[in-house]
Amino acid sequence: MNASIVWMRRQILPFLFFVFFIGGWEFLIWALAVESFLVPSPSAVMRALFRGVFAGNFMSHAWVTAIQALGGFLLGSAMGIAIAVLVVTFPVMERIIYPYIVALQTVPKVAIAPLIVVWFGFGMESKIIIVALVSLFPVLVNVMAGLKAVDQDRLDLLVSLSATRWQILRYLRFPNALPFLFAGLNTAIVFAIIGAIVGEFVGSNRGIGFLILQANFSLDIAGAFALFVVLSIMGVSFHTALQAIQRRVLFWNKTIDVDGNRPRQ
């Protein structure tokens, strides 16, 4: 009885809402006779999506965007981790490097994107670098916090055993930083897709961002909406994959919520 109510709430209600939302949308478009180049109906979006995926070029372009987003995400995260370790291990580096990092962060990456396309060309390289730039900072900031925020007693335990700086890093600071790292990665993976699309907007001839521009220019708004669906499926897939990895790596961490979000920015 009680359990069935819970089941209702968790399964039926979201589904009913979805049906109501899509149905209402479809109905309003039809009832108000909204022009399809302003707002498309859900059925038109679905048709455009199926056409694009099975008959058209959505998949090959989605692949390009995914590679750019993932590649840049991995590159940016690796750089973020490396700089964080450098800065925390050698405090003098923090004084030397960190002001530039902050300065770089305060510049909107969208503003630098055209320059990076000029430097690195129309291909995937420029997008990967833009993505790396936007992914770097959330990872860097979080890993720095995680490497520093070690419990004093845990540190004393190692110091009392004459642990070297490297041992403290390996046995305490690295594992301690993992929950923070994943908080940063969760933010970065979202930024990564944004970065890839921005890069494609600025200058490219491939990728979902390029297709969105094309659809907009030809007033194919249903096509643009279909591409949004592709993007959100990509985003949700990345997020879910990251969550799965996080659950495996951070199995011991009970303080982080299910969605793993504890971002600092």
Partner: protein, 258 residues
């Protein structure tokens, strides 16, 4: 005498800060702890008990005087000391066995050769079946037992414990006191046990160092020659009550009670 002592504290004083802000935490502490002795240190909060621990373990240097472990001056952290902190200080990403073996890894000793010893110690502290469990799966008392096993794993002759059972409930605490007495007897360690429970100090220790509020000074050292192994019923004996009264009298009745 000093040469034979496991721990020798010579005219040690500790002042934090300088000038007008200077706070004297410890003053003129001199003390010898014999090999195999169980020594308790009691005193009110802020009497410098924890400072004393940090000095003996080499985590800090005293501003005056010197400390010798097994005849050698303490000039930094030393591997002949095992520490048990107030909280268990386990690493949540390591299982219990890996936590116990952590000192072995830090000291660059062959982990493989210490596996059996680690298992035996877990058996000794009553955690035989929990080697593969993670700290979050254990109760507070069990975690503190694991911390004791870890402090013993590299076979340091001196064990320093800083209010190790302070966070436990009264019943678990009594059980842990019995366990600790048994472990100490089995392992033949020199123990310095810091506590603010007078009863715990009298029950466990051969000698009880009673300290004054800041700056911490040694008011007196009370010997408790009651025979081993002591059990909880011994706390009802008149001589036990007499020791309690002596210690409490030194603390001026203002110190913490039972």
């Amino acid at each position: 005498m000093a040469d034979a002592a496991a721990v020798s504290i010579r005219d040690v004083g500790m002042t934090y800060g300088e000038g007008a802000q200077a706070v004297e935490a410890l003053s003129e502490i001199s003390l010898d702890v014999m090999p195999g002795e169980f020594l308790a240190v009691v005193g009110p909060s802020g009497c410098g008990k924890s400072t004393l621990l940090r000095l003996v373990t080499g985590l800090r240097r005293p501003t005056r005087g010197g400390i010798f472990l097994q005849g050698l001056p303490v000039e930094g952290p030393r591997s002949d000391v095992g520490i048990v902190f107030q909280s268990p200080v386990l690493y949540p990403w390591r299982n219990i066995l890996e936590n116990v073996l952590l000192p072995i890894q830090i000291l660059n000793l062959p982990v493989r050769r210490y596996q059996d010893r680690a298992h035996a110690l877990l058996e000794l502290v009553g955690l035989g079946g929990f080697a593969k469990h993670y700290p979050s799966e254990l109760s507070g008392g069990m975690q503190q037992r694991a911390a004791i096993a870890r402090a013993l794993v590299h076979d340091a002759p001196i064990l320093i414990m800083d209010e190790p059972f302070g966070a436990l409930d009264a019943m678990t605490r009594e059980a842990m006191n019995l366990e600790l007495q048994r472990i100490w007897q089995a392992q033949q360690k020199t123990v310095i046990f810091i506590t603010h429970s007078i009863a715990e100090a009298v029950f466990l220790a051969d000698r009880i160092v009673v300290m004054s509020p800041r700056p911490g000074r040694i008011l007196d050292i009370i010997a408790n020659p009651m025979p081993r192994l002591r059990n909880l019923d011994d706390m009802l004996l008149p001589e036990f009550g007499e020791k309690l009264r002596q210690v409490r009298g030194l603390l001026g009745g203002k110190g913490p009670s039972l």
